[in-house]
Subunit: 721 residues, 2 copies
């Protein structure tokens, strides 16, 4: 039973809610009580008696092989029950970094035995207890060994969501002085100790995952406590592989009617988690005097002796999470169609030929062309389907029409409107959308227009001719089937219109194309766009990092990807990178660029991991008419989903209702992620390099620690001239 | 003409001394003056007129192609003259990180043109001017591009040997405020500005080489100035790829007779450089009133207008360097034979079968077996040649004989010497050296002995039988052809003698072997060795790092190598890692080990790069008789070359005089070198892991920044049981 239905389109994991239980050797009862009676979707349950210690066992039984104290056999549940409804909870007492060698050895043995058992049961995930002290190297070494040969199971490392402002860099739970004997005597190592944790628990996670080399099966389960760190500090986690948020009942408030509820900050956090496919798990005892329900055995909430017909004591907490889930704003239609594009790398390296991709996951299958993302704009010709994609971007052409209209009015005073004819050239006319926008702008402003539509793709020219014939534009529009870089124009233009921008502005060689085309622009002529600027910002993006890393080569780490960034943490505001202005009649102009950038993360963020840079553009079409995807300037009515979540440019796929995403962000990865700390700025260098046959970017981090220069000589990623 | 002859065995580059010259377009004259008349071996000479600026050229000549202002054609010297006697000096005025875009662009163009010209001439090296400011990212990006497609030429980045104690981390030469116009007006960008440099120039080098990703063709030329940083700070450079030391005449003192000489600290430094194949280059003007030689044109020292028959004004400096060179202590004979082993990785991965290696360079060819370095001690049998190597280690067997003698005397009081027979077992007897040492110890102490010589290699047993027959030991020695782990001994031993130690002590499975063998040792019996401990220390070792990196895989970075470490910087004293004691009759014993280590570098070192860890061992044979290669305890009379230079264990190859090295250090690399700073300790974790079929090490850095755990599950490197 999921948290609810949101129009049927939300198929993410976060629909499901779990409950953390005590150890219970009657697993079938535990499951039926918590699922059927409690309404939860899965349990996070201990698999082994918490009193078990390998070192004690050996004393009792001697050298021979012996049966481990597991909770029954694997037969007590069906395979699908095990894998769908049980997350294994590794014994909380384990401490692999204890000074006590016996505890350390017992812990390693137990951890390996329990994971092995969970693998045998084909569980989807196991919850690993939080490291007990500031040091986690031996724990990480052991988990890393396990990860090397693990089946598909995820390991969720439990991390308390704690960042205290006392700037103690060490993370030291107060439990570190507890002796082994004391821990032995506890049935469950209570998560309450977290409330006394000092420092920043992100540091602990960061050490652990660095030691495990960003392993893709190692993820995080965050313990959400009653007090929350700052918003900037919380934001870091959206770029980390968080799979679950464990909310303790202590963290709930009580509303006027006696029911549990969450503070506004908690609500916002949980909603954010649900929007990022992070599952909620309820943990703890009933803490709220929920009225009018029989709660005789409320404290025995995990159900050992409770009739399954009885209402589950944690049900009110689940109901509240379901309420939050159902209350969430529905996603705009286009965002829903883009769900499957989220954090999906679209590589410009996938070839110069059109490629059709099947993105498929458990929820949906969408077929689309990513050709327009990977094509070499000057070397290759577009396909019809790609034109289809471009042309459907109605918001874009409305902006163009507005810009052209303003330019026409500036160029031709009202009194000369009927006498003066403006010469306008569309360079890269494709199948004609800018020709249409130009004609509409002329009509709107009452100006006379003569259009040259220059297009190098002979196939598009066929359609263009047909369009002109159909629309009866023969007298106004001259079609030129030619590469704009070598066309010998019969006259000079007043206005040069083009749409050659990529996600990073100049990355589809707009500068080089327009340099070639401006020969036939009058000295006082107008280029639309008149300028464009690229922007970057550092991001935590562990999903993207792991996807790039999975190729196991340097080439993929030196490539920029088009991607709908969603599960990323934007660590600092964007900074501008390269700007190009058109026309540029300077004799010494160069399209090489070099920019040094500095980013400073807010002091309350804590340290954070930079996996790479999200890149955007903003273009000035004409005067104040702009077009762009830079989060802070992308206007909401222009973009379906702006700064708050993702940056993209979407339009309706007319009658079918099918949506095609356009202009996602670009992502520049770093071969080795860089950890940055407040007060120690991140210095980044970006180069746009031009050779005789290609254009490419190089980038590096210079501070706090220098990285290699990425993509030297464009060895991994380039755009052909 | 080299600096001199040192018995003919020193074939290193450092025999040759160069001189830095001004630009001179008469290269043949420049060469003959400095070589024939001056006595230098090579010149470091500018290749292009220092007044040339690409941006000015274009104005003068216009768009067409034009001849660059090179110093004549390539025909003025023969190809071998160019490559043997000229190091190209890149124009000193270039500044690729200037705020001035024209200067930056001019600099990039010039740098590429000059390197291209130097490549055309097949020069062996070019000297790159020192970065002008604290930032070097654009310079490094450009050099990195050049390195991607460079022929065999080395690029020497000029770095002033400066570390001021004011702890200014930025390296800012005072020249940073100089304008482009000013620089244009200088003929040579004088190195005198270095004397005003602040901070630590190592940081600049470190940034540059990190940006260029430790490229193997990028190296350092150090400018040695009149004042020197602390010894610890200087020591760092021995692990860096320093190719040349440029000594300015200003740095020389004047002796009582008016001749130039160096301070004691400078002498020590230069001697150290000469001992590490670092070439000396003299730079500057005659600064010393050298008597009795005609020096009319002393100031025009680069010889443009000086008769070649005239004495070169810098000759006294060269003579002094030659004096230092010739005065150096001759290397002990065994060290000379080991020259070709220096910093040469011997991989235990080279297979389980015997491998014979040819090490060859321009100076010498030596054939040797590194089988004993790579064999799997329990899985494989040794070859005769390997036994030969082991047995010739006379110092080792003298120590064994001493230890056995002491043990015999402790075990049997003088009054029972003739009645009591001690049972001694040699486990891993090989061809008998320990049998011989035992018998000699018995004779020396007057004790009666019964020996069992246990050996699993049937081929060695053949020789052993023959030895026993030849020596007439039949009554005392029983040969057992059996693996010690499964032998069923007829009686228990008083003394168990073995020689199973590797460079890292336990790395050839001595613990596992002796655990198996101690079954037949009496409860109060003695094991020789009685204990052994491994040690590590962090080192800068760029040569080793690059050799490991050249394999382009993770496996080689997760492997420990046997290596005669020479060009390394030992950054901190050794710390003990694992200790094993024998016999160990505990029922709960395990040969798994885990050690957390902390290293702190001296505060006057400055920051340093850790490429990995040098590992050693020390074994207690019996009571105070020890054997080991740990630098601080390796006794000089036991080891040919102790702490000061390299750690090794050498013996004479009897009649031929051929020397075979034994027991070099072990080297554990780091996949990503770690930069450490004083006050921020390096925390390292080492594990010895035991599986059912193999034993392996894992290691990681936990602080200042966590590294991945290396060699998880022994995936890259292991020793088979």
């Amino acid at each position: 039973m999921a948290l609810g239905e949101r129009g049927g389109w939300d198929k993410s994991e976060s629909r499901y809610c779990g409950v953390e239980t005590d150890f219970n050797d009657d697993m079938p009862h535990l499951l039926s009580f918590n699922l059927s009676s409690g309404g939860f979707d899965f349990v996070v349950a201990s698999l082994m008696d918490p009193n078990y210690r390998p070192s004690l066992m050996e004393k009792d039984i001697g050298g021979g092989s012996h049966v481990l104290p597991f909770a029954g056999s694997d037969l007590v549940l069906s395979p699908s029950q095990w894998s769908s409804h049980v997350v294994g909870k590794i014994s909380s007492w384990i401490d692999l970094d204890s000074e006590d060698e016996i505890l350390r050895t017992d812990s390693e043995t137990t951890l390996k035995q329990e994971i092995s058992w969970a693998s045998h049961l084909s569980l989807q995930a196991c919850l690993l207890p939080s490291p007990k002290g500031a040091s986690c190297a031996n724990y990480a070494r052991c988990v890393n060994q396990i990860l090397q040969s693990l089946n598909n199971m995820q390991l969720w490392l439990r991390i308390p969501l704690v960042k205290n402002d006392d700037d103690t860099t060490d993370f030291i739970p107060s439990v570190s002085t507890v002796t082994y004997a004391q821990i032995l005597s506890w049935r469950i190592f209570s998560i309450h100790v977290y409330s006394r944790v000092r420092g920043d628990s992100w540091e602990l996670w960061n050490s652990f995952r660095l030691l495990c080399e960003h392993h893709s099966q190692l993820s995080v389960a965050l313990d959400v406590l009653s007090s929350l760190p700052s918003a900037n500090s919380l934001g870091r986690w959206l770029g980390e592989p968080v799979r679950a948020a464990i909310i303790h009942t202590d963290s709930f408030l009580t509303n006027a009617r006696g029911y549990p509820c969450l503070s506004r900050r908690h609500q916002k956090l949980i909603t954010g988690f649900l929007n990022h496919s992070i599952q909620v798990v309820i943990s703890g005892k009933l803490n709220h005097g929920v009225p009018s329900v029989s709660l005789d055995s409320a404290l025995d909430h995990t159900g050992t002796n409770v009739e399954s017909s009885q209402r589950h004591s944690l049900r009110p907490y689940l109901d509240y999470i379901a309420y939050l889930y159902q209350r969430m704003d529905p996603l705009p239609e286009q965002e829903r169609f883009e769900l499957s594009y989220r954090d999906f790398l679209q590589s410009p390296l996938q070839g110069h030929n059109p490629l059709f991709h099947i993105i498929s996951d458990e929820f949906c299958t969408i077929e689309f062309s990513n050709y327009y993302l990977s094509f070499q704009p000057l070397m290759d010709n577009l396909e019809a389907q790609t034109y289809e994609t471009f042309e459907k971007d109605s918001v874009k052409y409305i902006q163009y029409q507005r810009a052209i209209g303003n330019a026409l009015v500036d160029r031709v005073p009202d009194e000369e409107a009927s006498s003066l004819t403006t010469v306008l050239m569309v360079v890269g006319a494709g199948r004609g959308p800018l020709v249409r926008a130009s004609l509409q702008a002329a009509e709107e402003t009452g100006r006379k227009l003569k259009i040259y539509a220059v297009e190098k793709n002979p196939n598009a020219v066929v359609t263009l001719h047909s369009l002109v014939r159909l629309e009866g534009w023969e007298k106004t529009v001259t079609i030129v089937s030619c590469d704009m870089r070598c066309w010998d124009a019969p006259e000079k233009a007043d206005i040069l219109v083009s749409e050659l921008l990529g996600s990073f502005g100049d990355n589809e060689l707009s500068p080089e194309c327009l340099d070639g085309a401006q020969r036939f622009l009058k000295q006082d002529g107008i280029s639309i766009p008149s300028s464009y600027t690229s922007f970057i910002q550092p991001v935590t993006a562990s999903k993207l990092h792991n996807d790039v890393k999975s190729h196991k080569d340097v080439v993929h780490f030196e490539t920029a990807y088009v991607v709908k960034v969603h599960s990323v943490a934007r660590l600092a505001p964007c900074e501008p990178v390269f700007t190009f202005t058109h026309p540029n009649f300077s004799t010494k102009k160069s399209n090489q660029r070099y920019k040094k950038l500095r980013f400073e993360i807010p002091s309350d963020t804590g340290s954070a991991m930079v996996h790479g840079f999200a890149g955007y553009f903003d273009a000035m079409l004409y005067k104040d008419v702009h077009l762009g995807i830079e989060p802070s300037t992308a206007t909401p009515n222009m973009f379906s989903c702006c700064a708050s979540s993702s940056v993209c440019f979407v339009e309706s796929y007319f009658d079918t209702g099918l949506q095609i995403p356009a202009w996602f962000a670009i992502f520049f990865p770093l071969r080795t992620p860089v950890c940055i700390r407040p007060g120690s700025p991140l210095e980044v260098h970006f180069w746009r390099c031009c050779g005789s046959t290609k254009v490419w970017y190089e980038w590096c981090v210079a501070s706090p620690n220098p990285s290699p220069v990425h993509n030297s000589n464009g060895r991994s990623y380039w755009v052909g001239l």
